[in-house]
Amino acid sequence: MSKEVVLDCLGEACPIPLVKAEKALVKMAVGDVLIVQIDHSCAMKNVPEWARNQGHEVELEEVDDGEWECIIEKMK
């Protein structure tokens, strides 16, 4: 059964959400879903691009004005 992990990065400036997501993803199993909550506009480009580059499935959703959830499914 796959897990869903929520990572709260609200209020964190640009490279921090990415570094946190990277660390969280290492601990997760293939098929698990990581939801990174971000409100720094730079991370909204940064995190999805990095995760796609790594070969994961990525979706970005604007849940509120200026707040996003980057949903990453660990693929490998």
Partner: protein, 231 residues
């Protein structure tokens, strides 16, 4: 895009509960637009190109925000995420600017006029490299360079107000002691204006060639590192 990730929970948002309804921002946008236009008309009557500066400043901010153009990311992401898309965008911007500046300067030169902006040719010395390194470290920690910090405050990211505060403190401090820095470190360097040494076309081509080499390296770096970082 992918066909979608199956979420184990049926919640609409990880925050819990149903998704908050977004506020309609259009009335605010209209009010701000009217204020911007009003200031524009006022500046237009004051003259002295103020209206032009106002429009250019607004356009620059808008493009910066919409394009996610970030000088910090252009220098940081090649290390952190191995992505060089922003790096390459900055290089393209440099290439376009080089052509534009050369055209303007050559235009004045060809007509026998004083070349504008020559006082901005700064000396290069070890101080340039040390300063660049310090600025680079600072902007990654602060989460933005000068334009990026201003843009994100405009977006409503309050933490960056701290960056802006210390940016102002540092600038004032730097300005206060600038005479000493200038005498001690800066004036010892040499000034290089490429067209003086290589001719107008040679100077421009050298510039573009360096940018092209960096572009190719950036592209290769991203290709080499994509999809094979994790195992």
């Amino acid at each position: 895009m992918t066909e979608g990730i199956t979420r184990t929970s049926s919640r609409a948002s990880a925050r819990g509960g149903s998704r908050r309804k977004k506020k309609n921002q259009i009335p605010i946008a209209l009010v701000i637009f009217v204020i911007i236009a009003g200031i524009g008309v006022w500046l237009g009557f004051k003259g002295e190109n103020l209206l032009l500066y106002w429009v250019l400043g607004l356009a620059f901010g808008f493009i910066l925000q919409r394009s996610r153009f970030c000088f910090t990311a252009s220098m940081r992401d090649p290390y952190l995420t191995k992505s060089t898309s922003v790096t390459r965008a900055v290089l393209i911007a440099f290439a376009i600017t080089s052509i534009g500046f050369t055209a303007i300067k050559y235009g004045y030169f060809a007509n026998g006029l004083t070349i504008p902006g020559q006082s901005y040719i700064a000396t290069i010395s070890i101080a340039t490299a040390v300063g660049a390194l310090m600025f680079g470290v600072g902007m990654v920690i602060a989460g933005g360079c000068a334009s990026g910090t201003l843009m994100r405050i405009g977006e409503g990211f309050w933490m960056q107000v701290i960056s802006l505060f210390f940016f102002i403190v540092g600038s004032l401090w730097g300005a206060h002691d600038f005479g000493w820095w200038k005498r001690t470190f800066i004036l010892g360097g040499t000034k290089v204006f490429l067209p003086d040494h290589l001719g107008w076309l040679g100077g421009l081509m050298t510039n573009l060639l360096i940018i092209a080499v960096l572009y190719v390296i950036a592209h290769k770096w991203e290709k080499k590192n994509s999809n094979q970082l994790s195992h």
